[in-house]
Symmetry: C2
Subunit: 364 residues, 2 copies
């Protein structure tokens, strides 16, 4: 296959999730089909107990530890069911009807996590931005913190609304974080956390695997007699059942790619720069406007609208024709959303900014 043809055929993909993957990772995958190294088959056709898969999964864990600075206190689990399963699995393991957990409700996904937690035990919605369609992160001074909470759950980045916590919540209880849409885009203050989870399909791989990081001391506080598959302790102890082999194999590739980009030190600067360039363009004229409070803006999902909303379908259509893909905003917000995860190159943002300039010139 001619690499030039391939390059031309790929657009700049702003999908909110499953999101874009590094092209190099996809080429490497292609080159490992239908046979991986000298094993006589592809990776997706081998036992999850085989040396080849074991090496791949261990390499992924090793790289994650190095990238985030996770010491041996932390278990790294590759589970299934996405963040949606975690919404239930977390309270099922760590909450009881006699306890209460604090939830910071800053979007669609944290609202769903509250719903599942309420089935299991007490929930205190310590903060919510539902009053303004989740367009801001509530100010910590107004949070209704329960000092006795068994944990505080929050969503670090809100994919739908396009908001993000720019600092870790400063609360007395152990933090649990749904980091699905900004995982590995920046560092996390690990000391504050008991559990961090992320569906892979935004920043670290394809759909089908959820990375769960759980600190051993927190793990030991879980409830007894849990269904085997929903018990974090079972997965921390051993490879209990068939993992999503392909997704883990891809995550390992993405982590290697990220190392090549200078790890989190390298990527967080690029992420900041991408977000700055795009928000600067949005703010440069009244033709465009951001949809969330400036201090709450996400570096991963940039939501914006046109002053003339009737032109938005034209914008999305013409952008797609120019190879700028999947810019349609979530139906609950409308307008446009550019998801600029780790694997989105800065060239994609520059191309989008140039398109926005042109579009304004033509229609402004």
């Amino acid at each position: 296959m001619n690499p030039t043809t391939v390059k031309t055929a790929r657009g700049y993909n702003f999908s909110a999730g499953p999101g874009t993957l590094p092209e190099d990772v996809l080429i490497e995958l292609r080159d490992e089909l239908p046979v991986y190294e000298s094993i006589g088959s592809s990776v997706i056709e081998i036992s999850h107990r085989s040396a080849t898969y074991t090496d791949i999964a261990e390499s992924a864990r090793h790289r994650l530890r190095k990238l985030l600075g996770l010491n041996e206190e932390w278990h790294i689990l590759f589970l299934q069911g996405g963040a949606s399963m975690q919404f239930y699995q977390i309270p099922y393991n760590f909450l009881t009807p006699q306890d209460s957990a604090d939830y910071l409700v800053t979007g669609t996904w944290s609202a769903k996590s509250v719903k599942e937690a309420k089935r299991v035990g007490g929930v205190n919605e310590a903060a919510s931005s539902k009053d303004k369609n989740f367009s801001y992160i509530p100010d910590p001074s107004a949070w209704d913190i329960n000092e006795q909470a068994v944990y505080t759950h929050y969503t670090s980045n809100n994919t739908v609304a396009g908001t993000q916590f720019h600092e870790e919540p400063d609360v007395p209880s152990t933090l649990i974080c749904d980091a699905s849409s900004d995982f590995l885009s920046r560092y996390m203050d690990l000391d504050r956390y008991g559990l961090i989870y992320a569906g892979a399909q935004k920043n670290i791989g394809p759909a089908g695997v959820t990375v769960v990081l759980v600190k051993d001391s927190f793990l030991q506080t879980r409830n007894p007699d849990l269904a085997t598959m929903l018990d974090y302790g079972v997965h921390a102890e051993k490879l209990f059942n068939t993992p999503p082999v392909f997704a883990v194999y891809m995550v390992e590739k993405v982590l290697r790619w990220l190392e090549g980009k200078g790890g989190i030190d390298g990527i967080k600067g690029v992420n900041q720069e991408k977000a700055d360039r795009l928000y600067n363009r949005i703010d440069a004229s009244d033709f465009y406007r951001g949809t969330v409070e400036k201090g709450s803006r996400s570096f991963m999902n940039v939501c914006f609208r046109l002053a003339n909303e009737s032109l938005e379908p034209v914008f999305i259509q013409e952008a797609a024709e120019a190879g700028l893909l999947a810019l349609k905003g979530h139906r609950s917000v409308g307008g446009m959303r550019a998801s600029i995860y780790n694997a989105c190159p800065i060239q994609a943002v520059d191309a989008l900014v140039a398109f926005m300039d042109d579009f304004e010139q033509k229609n402004g």
Copy 2:
């Protein structure tokens, strides 16, 4: 890439799971990387709400309906967590402490399903072959059937021991079947079933998706107030959360491949022939011996040992060097296991039989 090189590099893969995939499917996947058709990205980087993914998932459902003869009474779900999650999810949806379900215990996996069901409600182990290391399917005349059972759960094929039900259990209650290791290898008498499930990684695709077929009338009997992700009704109603996109995309390819092989009518004859050739070779001399009762032999997982067990590691090693891969038996049985799922070509079986002839000649 030179197709001849590829062909030579691929061995015959007898892995019990994740198992071999049709080579044509892998080549097609390779050719769709890093860009699928004209969409500007690969399939694994697009929204699960996109037209492209929706078409792929609908095509998979449509083909499954045609292949198995599923009418509109049947919901087709693509879930995560493998059979192990189903072991809990089934009783969680359909059993209560006031009810009892019948379980036919014929192997490692059905024993695990009993363990999870006992957390939820009453369980009657109506039959078990544990007394002889699961080396046979118990005779129906000896089953201790509960006429009031809310369902009867069984495992149609036992991957570890290498046994298989050759007829549907004739019981008064609704059947639930773990068909992970023989799904689509033959027809099923759908009228008897309320729910059929199969981890994809043996007969129909890669690890990471579990196909669940559930009849609407049975679905309506489920318990109220279930955790959203564990409620079959939620998934039957809509695409609730991000599905394992890659795995569904591959399942669709495998189903198309199966249609090209004449569907189940075509493949079941080939499966019978593969099993016959291999068991005939095993029975042809005292050098080899099958490990299960002849009437209970699996057409999917053929377990055998050498009269001289100390030669088994040599057999496995030399077979691997000859390109006959993953023949080591499960540790609970020992010896060899050749998994000859749908995607295992008859040439693989012939090559194994020829190797067995040679090996006996050299060592017999």
